[in-house]
Amino acid sequence: MAAAGPALTSAVTPWWRNRRLIPWLVQAAFGLALLVLVAFLVSNLVRNLTNAGLLLSWRWLGNPAGFDISETLLPFDAGLPYWRALLAGLVNTLRVVLAGLVGATLLGTFVGVAAFSSNGLLRRLARVYVELIRNIPLLLQLVFWYFVVFLALPGGRDALQLPGLVLAKSGLYLGWFSDPLHLVWMGPHLEGTVWHAPLRITVEFGALLTGLVVYTAAFIAEVVRGGVASVSNGQWEAARSLGFTPLQTLRRIVLPQALRVIIPGLNSQYISLAKNSSLAVACGYTDLYSVAETTLNQTGRAVEVVLLLLGSYLVIDLLISALMNGVNRLVQIRER
């Protein structure tokens, strides 16, 4: 009889009081509403685009672009189609993002750790750096780096010259072996007013990279500082009593523990850096956004171009995120 009691009551429980059914129903209703909303937005878009004669089409991607790109890793000229131009832009974006991630991580870690230095000057400099940089808009900083710092470099014959290296208004020129097999060295040389060298970093790339690295490093420094601070003081003291030097303590004891706190914060900084790279157009660097903007203007295919842009940045950021989540799993405590 005792067992029949609850069975009986559950049999007569009306469905609207069923605690297992209700959440499902609410979820389903919400999902349905979301679906209807999305369907409405998409159909609205398609209807309006059709009326305006602008129904999504991707055929223009195969038309010749007709514009040039200043620096590319992939060969490109104005006769190649739009998709090649966009691809060249994407590669340029990836180039600056990858270099930026490495640079910002190194500088950020250094500044973050410097906040714990026994040297008071270094400690204060690190604070000043972080507070100064993270409170000034990135766009302003990029314009500053490009127009005020880099374009103020002397050009042509007056450029800064060192053996195998020239820093001019148009960029950094490095010597390299023009024929690596026979070790034929080729240094930077001047033709008219234009420098030539086997390796070259343009001033536009340099300004964008510097801006992104300096800006993001300020945030990374704070993440690193927070991570290091999360390791209890006892760990430092224990390491010191065991005879570890401060550097050894940092490398062997503190950072491995701090990483657990640092990695998730780092993830969002990396993603911001990738997104912020779209400000490249402010300093004349031809990234994906810059190419897309020109494309949009020439073709009038606003919706398609913006969809491509959204997709590209989403994929880049999801990749960074996936990678960082993988790293995060590696550094977590494995409980036995």
Binding site: D68, T193, V194, A282, G284, T294, N297
Partner: protein
């Protein structure tokens, strides 16, 4: 059921007849845009805002320039007051989006009329008459010693992104087999700043724009234009494609400015001309043009005296040109192609008939 079918066929017919009757009754062209502007009370006009002679912000915060005067003329024609314009600065890459999204009613921003911008499969704009016939040029520092396009091979050239000049430059340089480095910037300010800093050996744009920008350089005399003209650049105000009524109103307001010059009607003598037209019934052409008789205004959905209002606020085309970019201005540009057709130029208004 036969009566139902009959009703179904006759009803739309009756309805459309009724509509035609209403339209003929005095409603004129029903333009959504025009109605919107009238109820808002201001014209939203997209201009460059940083180009001396065409659209520029004065020290007192007001706008002036040739492009600006076109906006004022249209505002005067539609709203009766040339000062009822809300100027919006748009850069070369956002201008078409601003027009398409309705953020601006009229784009008067030294925009080149091209097939792809006009076609509904392209940018889908509707162009008014060309207000400035221009050509693309290249400016270099005199000290560089560059005297022809060919000498720019292998050198960096500054250009504003999203412009026809960007494409023309690519075309011409390919034609003469001269590889070059295009440095693109989003705004004119950035483009010319990079040029002045010496990052590029040359900067390319419409010849009028180069001349205009040069006036604001620290040392204008140190820069010169190369003799080559790279392209035709008919600079033309534009509206959205979907509203022919509004496009017509803008088109004929611009034509009115040109026609006024041809007829010798100026900002100074417009009142006298109007009095003369009212006094002499035999001057039928003038009476129609100034709206004393006929219904040109109503046909366009504008007030009958829209021509008078437009000319009164900014003067005729010739006056606008001279004041902003001509010999009376800092730019000192020749009328050249922009003379009236009667003097061998391309400025030609179709008849007001």
């Amino acid at each position: 059921m036969a009566w139902l079918r009959k009703l179904a066929t006759t009803l739309p017919l009756a309805a459309s007849l009724l509509l035609v009757a209403c339209a003929g009754d005095g409603g004129g062209i029903q333009s959504q845009k025009l109605a919107g502007i009238k109820s808002r009370g201001t014209l939203l006009c997209g201009v460059d805002g940083k180009l001396p002679g065409f659209s520029f912000v004065n020290p007192d915060g007001t706008y002036s320039g040739l492009d600006v005067d076109i906006c004022k003329a249209v505002a005067a024609a539609t709203l009766g007051d040339g000062s009822k314009v809300d100027f919006r600065d748009v850069n070369s890459s956002e201008r078409f989006a601003a027009l398409a999204s309705g953020e601006i009613d009229l784009l008067s921003r030294n925009t080149t009329l091209t097939l792809s911008r006009d076609a509904s499969g392209g940018n889908g704009l509707s162009f008014a008459p060309t207000v400035f016939y221009d050509g693309q040029g290249v400016m270099v520092p005199k000290a560089s010693g560059v005297t022809s396009l060919k000498q720019l091979a292998g050198k960096p050239i500054c250009v504003e992104s999203g412009t026809t000049t960007e494409l023309n430059l690519a075309d011409r340089m390919r034609e003469i087999n001269a590889p070059y480095t295009p440095l693109k910037f989003q705004t004119g300010d950035q483009t010319y700043a990079a040029y002045l800093q010496g990052r590029c050996v040359a900067v390319t744009s419409d010849r009028s724009q180069l001349a205009a920008k040069r006036t604001s350089f620290p040392d204008p005399a140190a820069h010169t234009l190369l003799p080559e003209v790279l392209s035709k650049e008919p600079l033309t105000p534009a509206t959205v494609n979907g509203d022919p009524g509004w496009a017509d109103a803008v088109r004929w307001t611009v034509y009115a400015l040109m026609q006024a010059e041809e007829l010798g009607i100026t900002q100074a003598n417009i009142d006298a001309k109007l009095a003369e037209a009212k006094a002499k019934p035999n001057l039928a052409d003038l009476r129609r043009f100034l709206g004393v008789e006929g219904d040109f205004g109503r046909l366009l959905g504008l007030p009958a005296d829209f021509v008078v209002k437009a000319v009164k606020s900014v003067g005729n085309y010739g006056e606008i040109f001279e004041r902003n970019v001509g010999m009376a201005s800092k730019l000192k540009l020749e009328r050249g192609l922009n003379r009236q057709w009667t003097q061998g130029g391309l400025i030609y208004s179709p008849p007001f008939r």
